[in-house]
Amino acid sequence: MTHLSEEELILHYYGEAEDPAPVDRHLGECAECRAFYGSLKRVLNVVEAVPVPERGPAYGAEVWERLNPYLPVRHRFQWLAAPWRWAAAGVALSGLLIAAFLAGRSYPTQSRTPMPIAANPQVQERILKLAVGDYLERSQIVLMELANARADGALDISAEQDRAEALLGENRLYRQTAMHTGDAIMAGVLEELERVLLEIEHAPSRLAPAQLDDLQQRLRNDGILFRIRVLGSTVRNQGEHKL
């Protein structure tokens, strides 16, 4: 009887034998080859089972944070070059100024010397919260539309992508402000939201049903919508209550 070669058995183990049926047949009949194959499998199974340290869900973001300072500066700030991004930043800043104006009008001034709004940290915080509350509501609408979308064939999400793109510009401003003011919870949720929006922005503009299903499942499982809703409601209440 001609025995199977080690190479044939290795290919069989990896499922790459051109025709596995004769190999299986031979292994059924030949005790020597069967024993050799058994030993090969045990070795490879043990190698396979050696664990690798697990990296958490935020690992990609951590790598990016470490990597970003080493990338050429012109690329890191390229997002500001796009006109729509300046427009988005302008809209966000206008929102902040309007909120600052409203805050200034309703802020009690009789009992003490008025303090410039920009220099008053409490007012700044309330303005930020009002603006973020509004921003989260708009983000939630985009995510909800995707989460509840139904389509028989491919779904065109280019409109949602445009909105996600515009929201990203605002997100950066709010996240950086939240980090600056030490609001770790808000900064964390905005960071998560930023990743989600980035993914939507860079996804294909036409989603196949399986891709849409996958996206919707993730939105549901991640709980990102829930976190946005909770944070949005909290910051709106805080902002309105104090103003």
């Binding site: 080690e6 190479e7 290795i10 290919l11 990896y14 790459e16 030993s39 090969l40 045990r42 070795v43 490879l44 199974n45 043990v46 190698v47 396979e48 089972a49 050696v50 664990p51 690798v52 340290p53 990296r55 869900p57 935020a58 690992y59 990609g60 973001a61 790598v63 990016w64 470490r66 990597l67 970003n68 080493y70 990338l71 012109r74 690329h75 890191r76 390229q78 997002w79 990203l168 998560e192 930023e194 990743r195 989600v196 929006l197 980035l198 993914e199 922005e201 860079h202 996804a203 294909p204 399986a210 891709q211 996958d214 996206l215 993730r218 939105l219 499982n221 991640d222 990102i224």
Partner: protein
């Protein structure tokens, strides 16, 4: 889709192609998407190649830096993941080689832990229990270091990353026949190194 994937530990089957195109045109956000999408699988590959976390982290970071610098040279028809794997595997091998040349020794995660597990009674299946053993890991690390560059890379890609021989050959930039023989030689060497231990424990 890394943002979602990083939150759920799973893969989004959006093609890299469009994102790579955006990154090539200088969009740093698009490159960020690619970094988030591929970091964890690159870390696994790098750890398998280097055997320790510090070097694996170094490989991940250097791979993305090199990829960023060479993005213009990337053939858009190819798989971005395979291209990254190729960069990572080459850098990991350089790292291991230079460490070996300098006679440095990086302790693996469990090297200091001794080998108490083999002597303990256990209901765990043999491969899992053996794989936890420091002795198996030590012998595996030694055997892996004895593999040539192409053998080691081919084996890691075939065995751990589940690439078929054809994909391995693309990652290595060689003919499928050469990739196949690298896998054969790697398995043969590992079998010779580990078989006595595994067969004794069965």
């Amino acid at each position: 889709m890394p943002g979602f994937r990083s939150l759920t530990y799973s893969r989004m089957e959006f093609a890299d192609q469009a994102v790579v195109e955006q990154a090539r045109s200088g969009d740093a956000d698009a490159f960020r998407v690619l970094v988030e999408r591929h970091s964890r699988s690159l870390f696994r590959l790098a750890f398998r190649m280097t055997g320790n976390e510090t070097d694996a982290e170094d490989v991940v970071q250097e791979t993305f830096l090199r990829a960023y610098r060479q993005l213009a040279k990337f053939d858009a028809r190819a798989s971005f993941g395979t291209w990254l794997y190729r960069i990572a595997a080459n850098y990991a091998l350089d790292l291991v080689r230079s460490r070996n040349r300098r006679g440095e020794h990086r302790p693996s995660v469990d090297e200091e832990a001794g080998d108490p597990l083999l002597s303990l009674p256990s209901a765990e299946p043999a491969p899992d229990r053996l794989a936890l053993s420091g002795e198996v890991r030590r012998r595996l690390a030694v055997a892996m270091e004895d593999l040539s560059a192409s053998e080691r890379t081919a084996f890691v890609l075939r065995h751990f990353e589940g690439m078929c021989i054809e994909e391995v050959s693309r990652a290595l930039g060689c003919q499928p026949g050469a990739a196949k023989h690298s896998v054969f030689r790697a398995v043969q060497k590992l079998r010779r190194a580990l078989e006595p231990l595994v067969d004794t424990a069965k």
